[in-house]
Symmetry: C3
Subunit: 467 residues, 3 copies
């Protein structure tokens, strides 16, 4: 005990978690930069500007045909997923709830501003005046972009400092905007719910970072990487808000009308199916058939990820059920077999199991999307429906659906490459000893970063009862 104690104290001394200079500096400098860049570049678009009144008269529109009314309800649902969904899903650790919900809050608020700029440069730039024109769709896309980084946060939860998270987010948003541009604009793949662009990228980005930041002695020294009763109930708040609002996530930026309608239905069905197979596998692989809260909290969501790309296609209701069926099984098996394997043999410590919830289902979603696109026919979609759904317009006017299938697959590869490559790069940066990350002994613990930490109950619990 004496030797271990002194080793830990040494770690605590070499690992300085004081972020009193770096955290405020990064926040203030960054926010100031944002104000300047927004001042130079960002303006309202024609639907959020006071000139809408003239625009709508010219185009003979009613006020209700402002894009705001098509997308705002879904936007708010997505917003809830980002802040409450991701934030509370990660509160399951007994002593890291502040960090889970608080740092999730910080990096989302930080990231969405940068996302508005980065995505704006690629998608919403008005070449007549060099300004980025934003509306509600940009807000949704910024939330999507942030989601990629929050997924990555799941892999390193409890093991990094807030400054590291801001660096992770800064690079993550940038990489996201570039891969999104390549996948959606250059390759012209479709990805309504971001199976590839968000989940595959975010998943592999986080796993690669976690691999770079591997802590060989983490398990021996840390007793806090588990849940308590109430922290698991808090995590269910996150699970349910993610599960319920996933139809909004996958339909938020799809086409007005049938596109949004169909994407919501497909996602609703895939998620329902996932719950049942998750429960089945969870029960089947535990003694006495007991359910594991980890699976219920996470694997039940895999169907929403996997149906993302194809959500706006004519996947058919039974197709959605099949996707959900498979993903519930695969994701739960991943928690049971793959996560321990990855930690032991691949040196990837994945706190939240994002490989099972985002990376694998994201890849499945990309494949489902490619197959569904390749199998699309005019007899099912109708001529105009096919053109609308796949945006076969302009330079893509004469693309065939089978070719589209190939491009979907190419998009998936790009997402994986950006995730892995970007993660290794950023992981390398995060290994620099300047970011204030905690010692092994302080991982999964709110104390290093939270003042006035009311820890008496918990430390009592830990010390007296040997939990």
């Amino acid at each position: 005990m004496g030797a271990a104690q002194s080793f830990r104290e040494l770690c605590d001394r070499t690992k300085n978690t004081n972020v009193r200079l770096s955290l405020p500096a990064v926040c203030i400098v960054w926010q100031t930069a944002m104000i300047i860049l927004f001042g130079v570049f960002i303006r309202y678009n024609e639907e959020s500007d006071t000139h809408w009144v003239e625009y709508r008269k010219e185009n003979n529109l009613s006020d209700i045909q402002n894009d705001f009314y098509f997308r705002y309800p879904s936007f708010q649902d997505v917003h809830v997923m980002i802040f409450v969904g991701f934030g509370f899903l990660m509160t399951f650790l007994q002593r890291y709830s502040f960090g889970a919900v608080g740092f999730n809050f910080l990096i989302a608020a930080f990231g969405l501003q940068w996302a508005l700029l980065m995505q704006g440069w690629f998608h919403s730039l008005d070449y007549t005046d060099g300004k980025i024109k934003i509306g509600v769709e940009n807000l949704i896309n910024a939330d999507f972009c942030v989601a990629g980084c929050l997924i990555a946060y799941g892999a390193v939860l409890g093991k990094v400092s807030p400054v590291q998270l801001l660096v992770l987010t800064l690079f993550g948003i940038t990489l996201f905007a570039v891969e999104e541009y390549i996948i959606l604009d250059l390759i012209h793949a479709k990805d309504a719910g971001g199976s590839m662009v968000i989940h595959t990228f975010g998943g592999y980005y986080g796993l690669s970072i976690s691999w770079m930041l591997y802590r060989p002695n983490l398990d021996q020294s840390n007793r806090l990487q588990s849940s308590v009763y109430h922290s698991d109930v808090f995590a269910m708040i996150g699970t349910l808000f993610l599960w319920m609002f996933w139809p909004s996530f996958n339909s938020a930026i799809t086409d007005h009308g049938d596109g949004q309608h169909r994407a919501a239905i497909n996602t609703y069905l895939a998620l329902a199916s996932t719950v049942l197979t998750t429960v089945a596998v969870s029960s089947l692989f535990q003694k006495h058939g007991k359910l594991d809260m980890v699976h219920i909290q996470n694997s039940t969501l895999a169907g929403g990820v996997a149906v993302g790309t194809a959500a706006e296609f004519m996947l058919m209701p039974y197709g959605s059920l099949i996707v959900g069926f498979c993903c519930g099984i695969i994701s739960t098996l991943g928690y049971i077999f793959l996560t321990p394997f990855m930690e032991k043999y691949l040196k990837i410590q994945d706190t939240c199991g994002i490989h099972n919830l985002h990376a694998m289902p994201g890849v499945i979603g990309g494949i489902v999307g490619a197959i569904t696109a390749a199998a699309a026919t005019e007899s099912v979609y109708g001529a105009e429906g096919l053109r609308n759904t796949f945006d076969f317009e302009g330079e893509f006017a004469d693309r065939s659906t089978s070719k589209q299938g190939g491009h979907q697959a190419a998009g998936l590869c790009v997402a994986i490459c950006f995730g892995v490559g970007g993660g290794i790069l950023v992981g390398f940066i995060l290994r620099l000893p300047i970011w204030g990350d905690p010692a092994d002994d302080n991982c999964f613990n709110d104390e290093p970063y939270w003042e006035n930490f009311p820890n008496i109950y918990l430390s009592w619990k830990l010390n007296s009862l040997q939990v």
Copy 2:
């Protein structure tokens, strides 16, 4: 102590809670059946299909006139009520929060698929091709159908196995679809918020099952049927999301335009009124005028139930307040006097008090609906308004409002009969000793069905401090 101990151990031995075979089997078989049936029967309707683009041109509609935009915000609110509302409302028990929110999740995801089929056969069947065509309204109706079973779950909370709950749901959805068809289509009663179809049916269904599953020794052997501080705060999450989104529940499937608008207003007012009388009665009947959390969590919602049928009628704002006023009083008095009476003399153990929150207010709602319908006049509604509100079209074109009042009352009777009859039948099935239900001593306890249960805090609490 020794004798009691050995009796309990005997119970534990005879009552085997191992569901390792039955639970996965039911889930996998069922989900496979769903995929096949969806493949055969379920397709997108004209508003969620890619052919919408042609449909809307033919009918000279704008994209925003897709039913999706009329109903999707309400749908998501209803979805939150089903999963977070019902789920968290039932977390009040100190040691059954996983079961409350987890099994609620399971049976809702299970039930809504079956509901889409059952309700689809009755309401959305396209006779030209024998397919059920679904859109957002079907998703809402499936959630409604599930609500009936979740209400029933409240009566047996903590006393049944997940397999029993799936059986309860399977039969509950089926019975619901039939009674709904009889009440809404054959009798042509109106029931916007489902006071009769959902709450009366679900309430009596659950109470009858609980009566069939009566456990005479439950009280003596179990110390867990109570709340702790934090579990009561968790339950308030459920209460508030139910309370806030009830206007969406009652307006979700009413007529476009004034119907949805009026239903939301009426429900908002009834609920506000209920809160005040609940507080009044709760305070009046406790010594020192203290409030009881059970009443605040439950009786405050009774007004939303009772205004369900009449929500779309011209109930008038003061009418809504009166309904809420009465229901707050009746429901709270029910918790104080009726629930103990029913347990002692009628052998109905009603864990959540669904009789006070759903069954009684549902019956009141049915009666209010019948009176309001019978009292409807053309001078108040306008000729076209009256026709629209009561759907006096086709074979019902010349029905009078007084006759409609009688049919409303008939609908209420059907709901009660289906609830009681169906509950007795299903309760009989659930008494078979094959479902893995817990012994009396293991009721209201997550341990039999949840792995990795972090129970040290709780068992310490119970054993050392004699809570």
Copy 3:
């Protein structure tokens, strides 16, 4: 200890917290009065009445152009903010979570009915028949009106009885309706998100009441005015739902089309900016750079308050970021320096720090609104856009924007005067020894007002471990 003990016991004897007569009496009498007044005055408006079918034909409208569809999603978001947002934000105290969320629920349900009447008399009175015609916009305004009183509740949280809160609400709603009429109708100031009307008024109203109810010995006698781990996580539920839905709050009653769209964007941006500067200042002023949960829970919201008035103006995205930037800093500094100063020297005990979250940011919001209005030009807004945004119609048709700026400032003064004056008046009433308020020793404690209080865990914690 002996002397202090007996003094406290004396207090407990003189301070009788029994509200068994007063609370039910107030609730029942009040609710009965509401029914009568609603019966006399309140009717549906043309969009929620069955005559809508004729109205829309006359005006050549589609059903989707019913105001319900423009405002209902935002209404529900506001509703969540009022009940879950305010309610859970106040659960941070370790032993006052029932009171926080329960009394918040009570006074909101109580207040919104009175608000419908009071605001209706000023704004929605139909002079042809002397009736108040209500629709969804009235529901939103009632929620807004209630928000003012809930803000005030934050200052006196844990120190007053439920009867006092009902009195506070009764007068608060009344004062609110009058000051709102003066500011919006007579002065014709614009205040989309209520920086002045809601936050400035509510903040100073609460602070003045708290000043009148000053308890000199509160700190010495009370150990409960702090949080525990889980209560801080509960409070984050409130924070996040307020933060996420604030764009809906500020856009809920702005003009259809670009007005709602722009208000949502501005608020989204201001809030994101606030998070970063809050984190920066919180970390900078604590040793080791640790974050303080109090700041994260509260100051992150200040940007939403401060952008309220100008949210619908052409504040520009960078303008919103600047507002948020400043408010995060000011609000956090307020918690660090101003709150202790006010308690010590000004005798204002502000439990939740509403001065930092509502009063100061509200004043800033009023000033920002005045400057933005005064700086508005036709070149930026367009002629028609300027007229629409500032409602320069009727008697205000030829008002200049610089004059409008002056009127905005005048509106701010009115809000402060009503808040301070009204608060002193109501505080005087609340000092009467008839309301059942708790002794100093019972403050921040749920026990006096909540039955069946499961306090064993807490009392054990307090007594055995000297937390």
